[in-house]
Symmetry: C2
Subunit: 162 residues, 2 copies
DNA sequence: GTCGCTGCAAAGTCTTTGCAGAGAG
DNA sequence: CTCTCTGCAAAGACTTTGCAGCGAC
């Protein structure tokens, strides 16, 4: 197997993630390829929530020799999503955005001005969600919450930037 | 103007909605057409959240002589959404679903098995959301919450239906 | 070696747009 | 009458799929 050397410095957390991914692939007879590694790495090293195309562009920039196809990005994202390693978010805008699901659960606050996404968690809300599902006889598997509005930065720049 | 006579019985609430729509159109020099009326009517009379295509199909069934095009459905939905008369939801599945935004605010519980959407509201959560936004210096404009899981019905039918 | 994976390009979806005729105001 | 709206079909945007060669195991 070829080895990619110009990766961002790896953390213990990332190594764990990588091993989980390898284990998952192995268990289903699938293969661990450079492309899959690069995609996981890029997802891990992006704080942001990326669209398939953004991810594809970043990978092309960082690994120009690899010539990763957009189809592979889509295929890998589906694979990762099926295994719950990444989560997809579909907000108002068209297209989905993906983020590593390995992170702790959290909700999203989206700035309608600049598109910035801030993550947060609130124990009280989490608790209520469980209760609501129970009350309605619903077996909760997942949930998500978004708050839309204008972030601090955009409020401050409201005068200068229109 | 031609008049559509086979509409579902109209309520006061619907009349208000219709008038709002007419007023909105008038204020921007746009026209009130049969197609727009039919689309609003169908949205109003559907408890469910509809995709543009579902809406289109229903309208074709109910008003076969009108031959409303799907393009008009899309155009009208955009129009209504821009004016905040309808809200679009984009869940995991591809495509958006629309609902009348004139209804009271509520959140959604989505069955991952059958796709059914149940609405609910929880005052406590609403309150927390405001507080969280405030704490982060975020000017909240809107929010939405979804709980995903398996509805009561699907849990019961779990044995028979696979 | 085998069999899954990849890039490419073609095919699908879903949504938007251009246009000429129809219809609201 | 004017100017917007509509249906149709063509064009776009985003995703998925088929296939032959490549590469992990």
């Amino acid at each position: 197997m070829r080895t990619v050397t110009d990766f961002t410095e790896r953390t213990v957390e990332y190594e764990k993630l990588l091993n989980d991914f390898k284990a998952l692939l192995k268990s289903t007879g699938q293969k661990f390829t450079i492309q899959r590694e690069v995609i996981l790495d890029e997802l891990y090293n992006s704080d942001e929530h990326l669209t398939p195309e953004e991810l594809y562009n970043r990978i092309q920039e960082k690994h120009p020799t690899l010539k990763t196809g957009i189809a592979t990005v889509y295929r890998t994202l589906s694979l990762l999503e099926d295994s719950d390693m990444v989560t997809s978010l579909s907000f108002g805008a068209q297209g989905k955005k993906y983020e590593l699901g390995a992170k702790e659960h959290h909700d999203h606050m989206i700035c309608t001005r600049c598109g910035e996404i801030t993550e947060f968690v609130d124990a009280q809300i989490e608790e209520r969600q469980h209760k609501i599902a129970d009350d309605l006889g619903f077996k909760m598997e997942d949930h998500s919450m978004q708050i839309y509005g204008i972030c601090k930065k955009c409020q401050e720049h409201a005068q200068t930037k229109q």
